[in-house]
């Protein structure tokens, strides 16, 4: 393998760490990365495409900016360029990210703040959805044993059998600065980090389930739309 190919493959791996904040999946798995190339001189170019021309510009901006940061940090990449294609706000986003102008600077007069709060709000949704992923099998066991679901409240993360879903939940909680260690309670309020009270457990679990259902439904619609939009691509 050449050095350039090594760098390109590292760049691709870095892109796998970039997620769609709404769908909470890597942009590579979602097939939003149309191409990623690195020239012998270390110039990386990434092309992104989204399910529709009108996908929300704030989330699109986050993905382009995150892709830029991820690829620019890869050893061997001297200069990075990320180009969003086929999108109504592509020029504003591409130029803004290239100039490191921030969201407010990229959409002059149309935005009043950067996107940290938006990102955090969707991380909290990801925590709720992840809570359902982790708790659903446990609930089935409790139900089979005739135990009250509120028993989940006494579990900590270290009590739950290891799984990719649990790892993911821990990472999302850590991203928000919420407790994520073995001793941390399994059921917490994603705003405050406080353990969920016994009487609030049923509603908390219901909200976790509907949040997961919503994200899954969105993901399925987005993937169907992307497939229709770019049918000739190798998928």
């Amino acid at each position: 393998m050449t050095i350039t190919a090594d760098v390109a493959s590292a760049a691709w791996a870095a892109l796998a760490g970039v997620r769609d904040p709404e769908l909470d999946e890597p942009i590579t798995a979602l097939k939003f990365v149309a191409s990623c190339t690195v020239s012998p001189g270390g110039e990386a170019q990434v092309r992104l495409r989204l399910p529709t021309y009108f996908c929300a510009p704030n989330f699109a901006y986050l993905m382009v900016a995150d892709a830029y940061d991820a690829v620019a940090a890869v050893p061997g990449v001297g200069r990075a360029e990320v180009i969003l294609e086929d999108h109504f706000a592509a020029d504003a986003i591409n130029d803004g990210v290239a100039a490191q102008a921030g969201f407010v600077g990229s959409f002059t007069g149309e935005a009043i703040a950067e996107l940290d709060e938006l990102r955090a709000a969707f991380l909290r949704k990801a925590v709720m959805a992840g809570t359902d992923q982790v708790c659903r099998p446990l609930l089935a066991e409790l139900q089979a044993a005739g135990t009250d679901p509120a028993a989940l409240r006494s579990l900590s993360l270290g009590d739950v059998p290891p799984s990719p879903q649990l790892d993911r939940l821990r990472r999302r909680r850590a991203d928000l600065g919420l407790p994520a260690g073995d001793e941390s309670p399994l059921l917490i309020d994603p705003e405050s980090g406080a353990v969920v009270s016994a009487e609030a457990v049923p509603l908390h679990l219901r909200r976790a389930r509907v949040t997961r259902a919503g994200i899954e439904a969105n993901t399925s619609i987005c993937s169907g739309m992307l497939r229709q939009r770019y049918p000739s691509d190798p998928q």
């Binding site: 929300a56 709060e117 399925s220």
Partner: protein, 349 residues
């Protein structure tokens, strides 16, 4: 009317369109937006059964005959509710206007409900237009697209003071039903444009109006569901849910239906085909045949014939005072369609 296994279903398509998105209607200089919008809609159609897909040319501009055949002739619909979307910055005569819809409706008395729309950024002139439309077309409902671009603005919230002024005026004019459709832009652009908390505020402050959130708040189903439990006058418009998920993703469709039945309840869910995105025929027939696909969904409320009759027509008929033939009515024991107090209220306790 649709009859299946001896049961008679009265069908109200509460969310459909008669648009012109062909190049002859594109605003010079804004062609990319007009093209991008209709291509996005066309991609949604691909989520339905293959045999119902149209070529883009027909999709851009279908005829009156197409609509009458697809919706009423083949589609089993008894009454259809036009939901206008203007987008006049991109489409010269508007994408799907009150006038265009009503011109077709006037040829077919009793088959259509002609809703109108407003944009709170249009000031006094917009209020005058709303008044004229209500007087001329007898509109009892409005469709609001909060992401509409208007003279440099990328959208609005229902909780804006200007929106409240319009909602007050609409109520005084006799409007009952506010259909809300969220889109990807709003001011300021850093906020989540799909957030439904503004609907929550408006629904609280206008208890005499019904708020039908189209596409059940997609992509924010969870926020919509929780809000709907707290606001007795909030309804779930199922356009896109049946069209976009029932065929393409049956498992996720079952989950979403289960969640809606739990949080919102069968009395407050209304069918809408979103025609011309999807034809109603396969949606109506498929939904009447539908049930949860496996035991995995046993925690969700059951789906009965009464559930389907309410969702497919009786709830919307109640919202719009549409007369339903006796043979399609439900026995009193099945509850009251569209009843506000039948919503399952969920509290923190």
């Amino acid at each position: 009317m649709y009859t299946k296994d001896g049961e008679k279903y009265f069908i109200v398509d509460s969310h459909m369109h008669f648009w012109n998105a062909a190049p002859d209607n594109w605003v010079p200089g804004a062609e990319q937006y007009a093209k991008g919008w209709i291509e996005c809609f066309h991609a949604y159609q691909s989520l339905g059964p293959k045999e119902t897909h149209w070529p883009i040319e027909k999709f851009q501009k279908y005829s009156e005959d197409d609509l009458m055949k697809d919706v009423f002739g083949d589609g089993h619909v008894d009454v259809a509710v036009f939901q206008p979307t203007y987008l006049k910055e991109w489409y010269a005569e508007g994408f799907n206007t009150t006038e265009r819809n009503a011109a077709l409706g006037e040829k077919h008395p009793g088959m259509f409900v002609a809703n109108t729309r407003f944009d709170p950024r249009d000031g006094d002139a917009g209020l005058d237009e709303l008044r004229r439309n209500v007087e001329r077309y007898g509109s009892r409902g409005v469709k609001l697209y909060t992401a509409e671009w208007n003279n440099g603005s990328r959208g609005y919230k229902l909780s804006d003071p200007a929106a409240y002024r319009y909602l007050e005026a609409a109520q005084q004019l006799g409007i009952k039903n506010i259909h809300v459709h969220k889109g990807p832009t709003i001011w300021p652009l850093d906020k989540d444009a799909f957030d439904v908390s503004d609907v929550d505020h408006a629904a609280t402050d206008f208890p005499g109006l019904n708020f039908i959130v189209e596409h059940v708040g997609l992509p924010r189903i969870e926020d919509f569901c929780f809000m709907a439990t707290q606001e007795p006058n909030v309804y779930a418009g199922l356009s896109v849910v049946i069209g976009g998920l029932m065929h393409a993703r049956p498992k996720f469709f079952a989950k979403v239906m289960g969640e809606l039945l739990f949080w919102v309840g069968e009395d407050k869910m209304t069918f809408g085909s979103d025609y011309g995105i999807w034809e109603p025929k396969w949606q109506v027939e498929g939904f009447i045949d539908w049930d949860y696909p496996s035991d995995e969904f046993s925690d969700y409320p059951r789906v009965t014939t009464a559930t389907k009759k309410k969702i497919l027509g009786l709830n919307a008929a109640r919202l719009y005072d549409i007369k339903v033939p006796d043979e399609c009515q439900l026995p009193a024991s099945s509850g009251t369609p569209a009843a506000k107090d039948d919503a399952q209220l969920v509290s923190d306790s």
